[in-house]
């Protein structure tokens, strides 16, 4: 469980994280999404105490990270930047970290196996490819058998097999009841593993929602209908939760809140001829872009600011 309250980080004039407030719950994979420079990495560094918040706080399992007796057992973190000495072998790197907590040698060998590094564990970590480096970082994150696993852009530099491995790993960690917090700037990647999403832009919280809700908020699924008598179709479709739009003089309508099947049946019932009936799904990518485009715009215009605030309140 990660609990951020009014978490803020400023570097001089620049505000990297601005009053973030969220809770990451155990048992699910929570995606941490935002464009580059949104403050994801800074937030994660504050979680493990590498950066001190300018104001606000973030706690892990009820305490500040640094107050725990065995921090590696609370949070295992993979940070975006490389956090190894290139001259040390993978095995010695993990062993040195294990020694600080009294973690047995057996566990070091275990995580080496889990990460698939058995063949190269004795080689200097500096000779590793990007993907190998990521695997070593994940091995280090799992070392303390932590309740919370926090990974910053874990799929960066991994080959398809590695990406699949990460996906399965994240899902199984969450199934074991752990808190899994994963950042990414790729919505498509998150959609495959995350149940819950925390979306940030320019250091601010844009949405704290589930994948399904995010799509619905972004407009949901729209059905496009072309008909001989748009005015009458509009009347017969009208109902609670149904929204019909269309331009005057056009045969085309956009309907939300009804499925294509329902529209087709209603039209047949009333004897209205349809020329076209097609469902258009809003992709997660689009929903994400809509959210973050607002974040980019909020400095430019006053209407933009209002949009961001209203989205924040919705969340």
């Amino acid at each position: 469980m990660i609990d951020a309250r009014q978490l803020t980080k400023r570097y001089g004039e620049k505000t990297a994280v601005d009053g973030l407030e969220f809770v990451v719950k155990p048992g699910t994979v929570t995606g941490f999404l935002g464009p580059n420079g949104a403050g994801k990495s800074t937030t994660m560094r504050m979680v493990v105490g590498l950066d001190a918040p300018t104001s606000g706080s973030v706690t892990v399992n009820g305490h500040r990270y640094g107050r725990h007796r065995a921090p590696l057992q609370e949070v295992g973190a993979l940070l975006e930047a490389k956090s190894i000495h290139p001259g040390r072998s993978a095995y010695h790197h993990l062993r040195a970290l294990a020694l600080t907590h009294g973690i047995p040698r057996r566990r070091v060998e275990e995580v080496v196996d889990i990460a698939g590094l058995s063949g190269v564990a004795r080689k200097r970590a500096g000779s590793f490819s990007l993907g190998m480096g990521q695997r070593l970082g994940i091995a280090a994150a799992l070392l303390g058998d932590p309740q919370t696993v926090m990974l910053d852009e874990p799929v960066n530099g991994l080959d398809p097999e590695g990406v699949l491995w990460i996906r399965n790993l994240l899902t199984s960690l969450a199934e074991e009841g752990r808190t899994v917090f994963v950042s990414s700037h790729l919505m498509s990647e998150m959609a495959l593993v995350a149940d819950h999403l925390i979306v940030v832009g320019r250091g601010r919280l844009l949405a704290d929602t589930t994948v399904r809700d995010l799509v619905r908020e972004a407009g949901g699924d729209t059905v496009r209908v072309a008909t001989q008598d748009p005015a009458r179709l509009r009347d017969v479709l009208a109902g609670p939760g149904v929204d019909v739009t269309g331009r005057i003089g056009s045969e085309e309508l956009q309907v939300t809140g009804l499925t294509a099947r329902e529209i087709g049946l209603t039209a047949a019932e009333h004897g209205i001829a349809l020329f076209e009936l097609s469902t258009r799904q809003v992709s997660l990518e689009e929903a994400f872009m809509n959210l973050t485009r607002d974040a980019v715009e909020y400095h430019g215009s006053t209407t933009g600011t209002r949009t961001v605030e209203s989205v924040g309140r919705l969340a």
Binding site: L50, D51, R69, L72, H93, R95, A96, T100, G102
Partner: protein
């Protein structure tokens, strides 16, 4: 999370999770393992030892051959077996101080520090452990080096005016003082590396403090010079291992205290920055 904790509490006889804990001794063990798992450690320590022994023996050899030819400058002519054997400390202190800088600043330049401080978020135990490990290793290597240098150096100059053996008054104190000085230089290097977070910066300040500033002080008016000069780290250190002392140098005990003061100062600066700055 709460369910996991509750389960552990309900069944204390079969804890689901092992009870790990960070302790000072464990951080020390980790830093010890880190030091020896890098090739650079072996190289720098090897060089330090080589400088101590080789330069000590070269100095002793030159003294002996110079004596035979009768052409020798007066300072060199007043050498003792101790001063000749300790000739290498000037160079060895750079190797050992350099290793100290590498141990701390190297973690910043590579990014390793993020892993280190995520494992030990209280931070200060890391600095104390690094300083202790490096201090101990530099002390042992330095002491071995000077004893070996004296063992063979004193044989080379035996029978000459510089000749001395271990039983001569002050010899043991000088040799142990030299080892202690090298150990403290290692600690100062560690502190500088941690304070400046840059290998190049740490080494520059170390070289300046040990070698350049003593030269610059000679430009000061002589009344100031007499007050400042003995208290510089290198001169305070020299009075720890010099066999004889005159009015311009501190007695060995005072030299040790002054050098300990410098070490404490560097360590406090490093501790302050470690606690206050993000990494």
């Amino acid at each position: 999370m709460s369910t996991l904790t509750a389960a552990t509490e309900a069944a204390p006889t079969a804890p689901a999770r092992p009870a790990y804990r960070v302790t000072g001794r464990r951080v020390l063990a980790s830093e010890w393992a880190k030091l020896w798992s890098l090739r650079s450690t072996w190289i720098t320590l090897g060089l330090g030892l080589l400088f101590l022994v080789a330069f000590g023996l070269i100095a002793a050899g030159r003294y002996k051959s110079g004596l035979g030819s009768g052409r020798m400058d007066r300072d060199f002519a007043r050498s003792t077996a101790v001063s000749l054997s300790l000739f290498g400390t000037n160079f060895a202190q750079l190797a050992l101080g350099f290793l100290g800088v590498l141990v701390t600043a190297g973690e910043y330049s590579t990014g390793m520090i993020r892993s280190t401080l995520a494992a030990v978020p209280r931070r200060l135990p890391v600095l104390w452990s690094k300083a202790a490990v490096l201090g101990l290793v530099a002390l042992v290597i330095g002491t071995i080096g000077v004893f070996v240098a004296f063992l063979f150096g004193s044989r080379i100059v035996a029978g000459t005016p510089a000749g001395m053996d271990f039983s001569h008054a002050g010899v043991l104190r000088s040799l142990l003082g030299a080892g202690l000085y090298l150990g403290l230089v290692g600690v100062i290097g560690t502190a500088l590396g941690s304070l400046l977070r840059s290998v190049a910066g740490g080494i520059s300040v170390l070289v300046a403090a040990l070698m350049l500033i003593p030269g610059l002080v000679t430009l000061l008016p002589s009344s100031w010079q007499d007050d400042i000069s003995p208290c510089l780290p290198s001169n305070a250190g020299e009075s720890m291992f010099a066999l004889t002392h005159d009015a311009t140098s501190l007695p060995p005990g005072a030299g040790l205290l002054v050098l300990l003061g410098w070490t404490a100062l560097a360590l406090s600066g490093a501790a302050y920055r470690l606690l206050r700055s993000d990494v």
